[in-house]
Chain length 308, copies 2
């Protein structure tokens, strides 16, 4: 059995490769929900949906969120009522949010409705929210303004400099059913190539998760989301630098070393392998740029082999 | 000032004519909300929206509900999650329901959010729900099964024979702000050509409305929705017959006579004018088949003249 900690696009692409090399039903994905937000009364869970849609093969590859071949008639029409339309919810994607929101108002937990959505897409992989309680990633940006992640990332295009990050609600949250068990019982725990601060960070902030990972440190392996000092997609590199971390695979190694025994870094970073080892991690050097699912599958195979 | 009691399509077409012959801002429309229902957690108000969309000139003329040139990507996608899709919510129409539902959850009354929607469409006519409390039109059909109106009308295509109608919640509801005042202060009160049982009936069932109309009986004039024993659209004729009323302008006259002094009937029903008068109403005979807005305007002018 394999457990995987995941954020959005990078994780989803990695997981699509993973389920080519292991049985999908042997994988439990623990997904960041700090990005979750409410828009127009609907519960929107970007990372859960990105992982689900990508594993179902229906994701919008260009946008990095939502469904392929979407229309946006509803979001466009919301503007008439003076509602903000910067968060573009596709018309078909809306069905997911309507279903989730109605089920939750009817008393279902986020875990339960996530399992229903995953089943509706015909997936055999288990996809868990990190917690069923609300946790909101909030950023303090230059000037002292505090923003919800989506305001910063989508509305403000990740432009304001980040000076602090916190996970509202995390201290009083607890892991969703199956989260700790999947870590404890896993042969291998994977930390997908996701933003260390705002994708993996919130999962670690849920009480008990970091401790469960530390207990299994010799079975935990991560893939660096930073290649040659840059992210493939998303703001991890700039955010790491803004917060005083080194935006490199070495910076990732220093952040992960306490609960993770090995780090997979890209061929382009081969010269930094010794520094990763100095940070206390074994190092695996390979092609981590997932240009297609075949490369993602090879990366998954190398990553699993690191603790085999 | 003019007050108008309204259901859906027939009323909306009549009102579009009315605002051609009087200033739109001099008209207050009191709309049936017994058809309102919740779909996928959204508050759907068919008659309020039909009146609003029609006065805004954006209604779907063929369907008789919703917006013109709609797409149904979201409703189609809901089927994946096992949700019923027989109530077809258009993608742009969904924005109205999302806005209304979010505003109501935030504490706005149905009157308040209706005023906001009407303003968003640039209308100067006042559109009021009959009440801010939930009232649900429920039908008992052959076999004793009880259905919500939309289940019977949309899902079951108005096929099951109706044996009883009641308006759940009506006894403990009260008229929305402005409803009784608009009736009391109106120079003329119009009963639009709508289903007497399930469009006008719920409005009359709100405590105080029928009494307010009776007090102004000599200023209240109705337009028969039945022409030559048939409705132009909708199930009023069959429903009247099922419930033991005569499906004709005479049947309408008998139902309305206690609070209404005059009835406008169609040229095709001229021979029944004496029977309408025997039911206790003055009668106006004219063309009531609203093939276009010009004919609707002429009908509105004739109707207003009945109590001028």
């Amino acid at each position: 059995m394999i457990a995987a900690l995941a954020g959005g696009v990078g994780a989803a692409r990695f997981l699509r490769g993973l389920v080519r090399v292991v049985a999908p039903e042997d994988v439990t994905v623990i997904v960041n929900t700090g990005d979750d937000d409410e828009f127009h009364g609907l519960d929107v869970c970007p990372d859960l949906d990105t992982v689900t849609y990508t594993l179902a093969g229906v994701e919008n590859r260009e946008a990095g969120w939502g469904l392929a071949d979407e229309t946006f008639a509803c979001t466009d029409a919301l503007g008439r009522y003076g509602l903000p339309t910067w968060f573009r919810l596709g018309d078909r994607d809306l069905a997911t949010h309507l279903f989730r929101s109605a089920r939750r108002r009817a008393g279902a937990s986020l875990s339960e409705v996530t399992a229903e959505i995953v089943a509706a897409w015909g997936l055999r992989t288990t996809i868990l929210p990190m917690t069923d309680q609300p946790v909101a990633t909030r950023l303090t940006v230059a000037g002292g303004v505090e923003l919800h992640l989506q305001e910063w990332f989508v509305r403000d295009r990740a432009e304001p400099q980040v000076v602090d990050v916190h996970f509202e609600g995390a201290r009083t949250a607890w892991p969703a059913p199956g989260v700790l068990e999947s870590i404890s019982n896993a042969h291998t725990v994977l930390v997908c190539p996701s933003n260390p601060i705002i994708s993996i960070g919130p999962i670690l902030a849920v009480p008990g998760v970091r401790e469960a990972l530390r207990d299994r440190r010799d079975r935990v392996v991560a893939v660096s989301p930073i290649i040659a000092g840059r992210t493939v997609k998303g703001p991890a590199d700039r955010m790491m630098a803004d917060l005083g971390m080194e935006a490199s695979c070495v910076g990732v190694a220093r952040a992960y070393a306490d609960y993770c025994c090995a780090l997979v870094i890209d061929d382009q970073d081969a010269e930094r392998a010794a520094e990763v080892e100095s940070a206390g991690m074994r190092v695996i050097v390979t092609d981590t740029l997932m240009r297609d699912a075949r490369i993602a599958a090879a990366l998954a195979r190398h990553t699993l082999a690191a603790v085999a």
